[in-house]
């Protein structure tokens, strides 16, 4: 008998029944197809953008408002200058064609060990916790989110939603379905493993900056 059979038999024996009948299975499948709406955190803020920024900044992240996608390179260059980062970045093609200042080296591939700066387009921002949701794909390599020491994320205001659940509704409507990887990111990487004292930049980005677009 395979281990799979052993485990399933043991489960059913403990539950005191055989495999579920057709009616019971249909009921459970219906629960997946139309998930119950559970209790959520109250987010009654009229201004979701302000709530997002306030929550994101509460965990050592920073935010800035920009007016158009064309402003992204200037904002990134200013940040790089402020922190002494070399003019070189990995940028997801999801951001489209951007015109970078002279001297900037831009790569669209996976982030290698030497990469210090990543620029990505967020799929959603969640006002409840001030988190962003990233989806993986050819236009949004996942290494951009974790390898660089500084991560800049562009978040269009129309993609800021109230709760996690609003992301699921949008995700289920998406043609490509669930991506290979999804990341909720709520601030810079941190650790409390040395004497329970928080240090930033444990393994992922030490610095996270969100450019709120619109």
């Amino acid at each position: 008998m395979s281990s799979r059979d052993t485990v399933f038999n043991a489960i059913r024996q403990s539950l005191g029944r055989g495999p579920l009948d057709e009616a019971a299975r249909r009921k459970l499948d219906a629960r997946i197809a139309e998930p119950p709406q559970h209790v959520r955190a109250t987010v009654d803020d009229a201004d979701l953008i302000a709530r997002f920024a306030q929550r994101f900044e509460s965990r050592a992240g920073t935010t800035e408002r920009i007016n158009s996608l064309a402003d992204v390179p200037t904002a990134v260059a200013a940040l790089a200058e402020r922190y002494g980062i070399a003019p070189s970045a990995v940028v997801g093609t999801a951001l489209g064609e951007l015109t970078w200042p002279e001297g900037w080296q831009i790569d669209h591939g996976a982030a290698g060990i030497e990469v210090m700066l990543g620029v990505s387009l967020a799929w959603r921002g969640i006002a409840e916790t001030g988190s962003i949701l990233m989806l993986s794909g050819p236009e949004r390599p996942i290494t951009h989110n974790f390898v660089p020491e500084t991560h800049v994320v562009v978040l269009p205001v129309e993609h800021i939603v109230r709760h996690y659940e609003d992301c699921w509704v949008a995700l289920r409507e998406r043609d490509q379905g669930t991506p290979r990887a999804m990341n909720f990111i709520s601030g810079p990487s941190r650790t409390g493993d040395v004497e329970q004292t928080i240090e930033l930049g444990a393994h992922g980005p030490r610095r996270m900056h969100v450019l709120i677009l619109g």
Partner: protein
């Protein structure tokens, strides 16, 4: 992982005299306990979320076979593989097979308590693989060659100076004492490992049946790098960790971090669904999930089923006065504290685990903070009951209980004995109101005084008061 629960008593005594450990444990109270209380206070829906989380888990457990089938089908559709392991040995065999096929030399690991339960590191190292724990806490204790002492803060017992010594010895670099410099050094050393590992192993906090995704929750981003950069990603999780939908998951995301560290959310919640897809420039080429039973299916339908709701947040141990005094190592196996004192006897057997549930004071703090409302004191009492039925309770304790029961069932005798006892204690205390040492149990008064009665029993006082009215 070595099984040292039989030595609980000597290890507990050792822990009580460990100055560094005591200092570290006192930090826990100020850290986790206060922060959790604040987080719960700030969220009006917190108690309702705990109820919902309990109900979702109960629903899943009663239909576990169906949700596992759904989850497995979704993983397979996304190009991944689900393996079932009946026990730890089975799991090691499966994972060693995957690593061999991948021609692996170096294996990076994100934090996984299930992999500790499998005894995975020892097996991989014995087969010649280099295994690198990447969670900073896990990395520290790997260098110290010690098991974790807390399920979410594995190196909680280590001081900064001890970490500095370990790093200086392992990294061949000048000894650093600044906390930020230590974290930066680990970051630099572990980066090389992420990029050169062939296999990355992580845990799985949740498995979503709807999408076939495994979900990990981290603050450091180490699990994310581990699973993104290696050619092969292996998820290790328990069969009970499946939940139906993303909407159900949202409930758990709202209570996990708050219960564990008191955070509103961790830095990263990462979903993995199969291997890299067409056009992807990064991500693993293979994706495996190894689901461990190891006694879990036996807990279903039993008096211990509630234990399977556990989401491994660590709140029960953070609030446990016994854990707070002796730390995690005294418990002698993977899971310490209240949840460990239930799980260890159930997974490893009753032999050698006698002391674990009996160290509990049944104060109930664990139950009051458990995000999925596991009645831990009741389960611990049930383990004791089973020990009693297996005739494991010490003879003297049994005799004492029998004697107490005999007297307690005879109210007149009980009150008579009480009146005598109270008067003896009062005269021994000599009007000071406390006893510095007990004649038959000097250990009890070793570090505290016994408050002494004043000379009359409660019942006598009550009757006198009623007589006055």
């Amino acid at each position: 992982m070595e099984f040292r629960s039989p030595e609980f008593k000597t290890r507990a005594v050792h822990a009580l005299h460990d100055v560094n450990l005591q200092k570290a444990l006192s930090n826990t109270k100020a850290g986790f306990v206060v922060k959790r209380a604040q987080a719960a206070e700030e969220m009006p829906e917190f108690e309702a979320l705990r109820d919902t989380a309990r109900d979702i888990k109960d629903h899943v457990l009663n239909n576990l076979d169906h949700y596992l089938e759904k989850y497995e089908a979704a993983v397979t559709a996304a190009g991944g593989h689900v393996h079932y392991a009946a026990d730890a040995e089975d799991a090691r065999r499966i994972i060693l097979g995957i690593c061999k096929k991948a021609n692996a030399k170096r294996i990076t690991k994100g934090k996984s308590m299930v992999s500790e339960e499998m005894g995975l590191n020892e097996a991989l190292i014995a087969d010649g693989y280099e295994v690198v724990e990447t969670d900073l806490g896990e990395y520290i204790i790997q260098l110290a060659d010690e098991p974790p002492s807390h399920i979410i803060a594995p190196a909680i017992h280590k001081t900064k100076d001890q970490v500095a010594d370990l790093f200086a010895a392992a990294h061949n670099k000048p000894r650093k004492t600044d906390r930020a410099a230590l974290v930066a050094e680990a970051r630099e050393v572990l980066r090389e490992k992420y990029f050169s590992a062939e296999v990355g192993i992580t845990g799985g906090n949740f498995l979503v049946a709807e999408t076939g995704s495994s979900v990990i929750v981290t603050n450091e981003g180490n699990g994310d790098l581990t699973q993104t950069l290696a050619k092969v990603h292996i998820v290790t999780s328990g069969i009970e960790r499946v939940i139906p939908t993303l909407d159900d998951l949202s409930v758990f995301l709202r209570i996990l971090a708050r219960s564990a560290t008191g955070q509103e959310t961790e830095s990263y919640t990462t979903f993995s669904t199969g291997p890299r897809r067409e056009g992807d420039v990064d991500g693993p080429e293979e994706y495996h999930v190894v689901l461990l039973d190891n006694g879990r299916s036996k807990m279903l339908g039993s008096r211990f089923q509630d234990m399977l709701r556990c989401i491994r947040c660590g709140a029960c141990m953070n609030h446990c006065p016994v854990y707070g005094s002796i730390g995690g190592h005294a418990y002698g196996w993977v899971y310490p504290g209240p949840m460990g004192s239930v799980l260890t006897p159930l997974i490893k057997g009753m032999d050698g685990t006698y002391d674990l549930p009996n160290a509990c004071t049944l104060n109930g703090r664990c139950k009051s903070v458990c995000p999925v409302r596991i009645p831990l004191p009741d389960l611990l009492r049930e383990v004791r009951h089973q020990q009693y039925r297996k005739n494991m309770t010490p003879k003297r304790q049994k005799q004492a209980l029998k004697l107490w029961r005999y007297v307690a069932e005879r109210p007149k005798l009980y009150h008579f004995a009480e009146r005598i006892g109270v008067r003896i204690l009062a005269s021994m205390a000599n009007g000071k109101g406390k006893l510095r040492s007990l004649p038959f149990d000097p250990g009890w008064t070793g570090a505290r005084d016994l408050p002494a009665p004043t000379g009359r029993t409660f019942l006598e006082l009550w009757q006198a008061k009623r007589g006055d009215q």
